[in-house]
């Protein structure tokens, strides 16, 4: 089973590399990774699906939480969470198959985002298995081309976010000792 990790990360250069570095240093292969900014533009939400031994999952989370730019890393693999992925599928559909393709798309709740005499571009969201099925069905109509977004997740249990408060610099702390006030 894939491990699903959700991270809240400072939106800073190199932050992504640090997070993926925890995985690549251990030789783990990332199945999917999404990242985009949150309501606070200084922060990004990252969702990673990765094949990690069950016994090592906790260690990976701890290593990620140690990163200076990571505010929070949580393991959603066995948590109450919603996992969704989006797929864009281009399917060839000429005269004879067009109605059938549209009917199947409707069953999967997919939307038509482009239509041409050669075929359709369809957009579908869902959990990973549903999208697998959808793609399989579309393939039965002919050649398809598809791009998956990678999984995005949201935890359903509230997660306590523990943040470090500011600390005085050494020089500031020293002068505070000397004259009893924090200068500046």
């Amino acid at each position: 089973m894939l491990q699903v990790i959700s991270l809240l990360v400072e939106n800073k250069p190199g932050a992504l590399m640090r997070v993926t570095g925890v995985l690549s240093a251990r030789g783990y292969n990332i199945e999917s990774l999404t990242v985009a900014r949150t309501l606070d533009p200084g922060l990004s939400r990252m969702t990673i699906a990765v094949d990690v031994d069950a016994a090592l999952r906790q260690q990976v989370i701890k290593q990620m939480n140690k990163l200076v730019n990571v505010l929070q890393a949580v393991d959603l693999t066995e948590e109450r969470a919603v996992l969704r992925e989006l797929v864009l599928v281009k399917v060839r559909a000429v005269q004879g198959t067009r109605t059938a393709v549209l009917k199947e798309a409707e069953i999967f709740g997919a939307r038509v985002v482009d239509s041409s005499p050669e075929g359709f571009a369809l957009e579908a969201t869902g959990d990973l298995e549903k999208l697998d099925e959808f793609i399989d069905v579309m393939r039965s109509y002919g050649e398809v081309e598809c791009t998956r977004s990678g999984v995005v997740a949201v935890a359903l249990e509230p997660k306590k976010l523990r943040l470090q408060p500011p600390v005085p610099t050494k020089a500031a702390a020293n002068s505070e000792e000397k004259d009893g006030v924090l200068n500046g």
Partner: protein
């Protein structure tokens, strides 16, 4: 105040209390070195950037302060890598400053450009590329804070040339805000109470203390715990000196090369009190067979260490100094009946440990015709009297030094533990001597590792550092030879070191004294002469070439399956 980036960086270093740092200049750091020209801060010019980092480590390990090193872009920065990984593995606080090509040139394969930020990501605790001068002071103070707090480690700050050259208003930084950087110090009260309870119930406890005690300055608390519980204590290679080797409860170091009693103690105890340690494979041997009867209390400031190799029955994330303070208080307050019970239980356990110690003590081997490595270390121990700083390189000499030299305080023993970097011994002694000019510093090196750091003899001479360099010269890459002898049918492949330079001439070429000895009766007077000499001294001690370090736990073995001495089994390790 309008200030250049170079001056601003120096100003930040002063504010962090840096009095001395180690470096090597180059093209992009020219503006920085120009600002340094008439600045009071002391810059030590080493002869190779790797050694700048090792020297900074020596400084940091000898004092607990952040060590600082500096290198130019490209090759200067890449030369730092071994030192960065070394300090990462041993949790040593380092700030490494590197120059970078100008911001406009980054990514253009400019002359001496390297992706230092990318290359050093995995070998630092954190790193920065400063693209705007306005960010520089904040970044530098963050770097020092991150390096020194929590589990210490190296932080690198990469500064492009135009950032050094730019002018900006300098505003002192007063606060650091790193919301994602979590430092856990206090320890969970409930877990500390459970720890006290387990200790109270234990019949055969063992204290297993490491470098974390030294990093936290918790030696006093460690000693108090050991005495309160009357537990036998082992300290790791990184923890030597955390508890004085002369303390009656000190057993020795556990693991691959040290004592029978320590390893038997770990194997048969019913409770391990693990303090600032990481259950390294060199300590545990085959993990599945390690301390099979023991419950584990594990205290560490890094949550990722707890449960990494060995599951903890009582995990405590916190500063070991604070946690032990609280734990000791609970143990002190225990009822007298419980204390009496504890004392009674301890009698049998100590009798057993003393028996193991007597059965297979560490043997101070000597000979009438050749100098034995053990004899050399015993003599250095005698001359030090538990007072000198001893730095070591990596190999057999390191293990013998760890076995036979008794350290009475933290920060006396400086060696590359986790990474095992040859070439560490001499440059780290340079850093230690700058940090502690009042101290006698021995640098014990192998004939192999010494030749990796020979360029630093010039630094030693240039600054007149009275370091006593003792080469334990066995004519081999001894530790590799030992494995080839024991596990590869004595097929000695690429381990012979011929053409070792004449020590007297070599030291003489740099303007200080050197000497070679090979007779046991020369040893004491030669070491005494080296110590008496007010300057640097290179003493080349030819020891018996075929000695092996015992006891030894073969790779993949359990620590109670020690090879105590020759003859040895011949088997190819897994």
């Amino acid at each position: 105040m309008l200030m250049s980036g170079a001056k601003m960086l120096l100003e930040c270093l002063v504010r962090e209390g840096v009095d001395c740092f180690f470096g090597y200049p180059g093209g992009v750091t020219l503006p920085f070195y120009d600002a340094l020209y008439d600045h009071p801060i002391r810059h030590v010019l080493v002869r190779h950037e790797e050694n700048a980092c090792f020297a900074a480590e020596g400084y940091a390990r000898a004092t607990g302060k952040v060590g600082v090193c500096c290198a130019t872009s490209g090759p200067g920065a890449t030369n730092l890598i071994t030192g960065l990984v070394d300090s990462m593995m041993d949790s040593i606080p380092i700030v490494a400053l590197t120059g970078q090509v100008s911001t406009k040139l980054i990514g253009s394969d400019a002359f001496q450009e390297a992706d230092t930020f990318g290359i050093t990501r995995s070998c630092t605790k954190h790193n920065y590329l400063v693209k705007k001068l306005e960010d520089l002071p904040q970044v530098v103070h963050e770097a020092f804070y991150i390096a020194a707090s929590g589990r210490p480690g190296p932080v690198l700050v990469d500064v492009p040339k135009d950032v050094f050259q730019g002018q900006s208003h300098y505003q002192p930084v007063t606060a650091i805000h790193l919301p994602g950087y979590k430092v856990y110090t206090e320890g969970h009260t409930g877990q500390i109470r459970r720890a006290a309870q387990l200790i109270g119930e234990s019949q055969r406890p063992m204290v297993y203390a490491g470098g974390g005690i030294i990093a936290a300055g918790a030696s006093g608390e460690l000693r108090a715990l050991v005495e309160l519980v009357d537990a036998p204590a082992v300290t790791t290679l990184m923890g030597l000196g955390a508890l004085s080797a002369t303390h009656p409860n000190f057993v020795s170091m556990p693991g691959m090369h040290v004592s029978y009693a320590a390893n038997m103690g770990m194997t048969h105890c019913d409770l391990i009190i693990a303090l600032g340690v990481r259950f390294d494979d060199r300590v545990t041997g085959r993990l599945a067979a390690f301390a099979p009867h023991a419950k584990v209390i594990h205290v560490d400031i890094d949550p990722a260490e707890i449960g990494k190799n060995r599951a903890a029955d009582v995990p405590i994330v916190g500063d070991v100094k604070r946690v032990l303070g609280k734990l000791n208080k609970l143990l002190e307050d225990a009822l007298p009946v419980d204390q009496a019970k504890r004392a009674a239980a301890r009698k049998a356990w100590w009798a057993q440990l003393r028996k193991w110690q007597a059965e297979h003590p560490l043997v101070p081997v000597t000979s009438d015709s050749e100098i034995k490595p053990q004899h050399l270390m015993m003599e250095i121990d005698r001359l030090s009297g538990g007072k000198a700083i001893v730095t070591s390189d990596v190999g057999q000499h390191q293990m013998w030094a760890a076995q036979f030299i008794r350290f009475t305080e933290p920060r006396q023993w400086i060696n590359s533990g986790g990474l095992g970097s040859m070439g560490f011994g001499l440059p780290s002694a340079i850093g230690a001597q700058f940090a502690r000019p009042d101290k006698l510093v021995f640098s014990i090196v192998g004939d192999g590792g010494f030749q990796m750091s020979i360029p630093e003899l010039a630094t030693v001479a240039s600054y007149g550092l009275p370091i006593k360099i003792v080469v334990m010269n066995n004519g081999y890459l001894g530790m590799v030879r030992q494995w080839q002898e024991l596990f590869y049918n004595n097929r000695l492949s690429a381990v012979e070191l011929d053409c070792f330079p004449d020590a007297e001439k070599l030291a003489g070429a740099y303007g200080f004294k050197g000497r070679t000895i090979d007779k046991p009766w020369e040893l004491t007077p030669a070491l005494e002469e080296a110590v008496r000499d007010p300057g640097p001294y290179l003493l080349n001690v030819k020891v018996s070439p075929h000695e092996c370090v015992y006891p030894m736990v073969p790779a993949g073995g359990a620590i109670n399956e020690m090879v105590l001495g020759p003859p040895q089994p011949v088997a190819v390790p897994k």
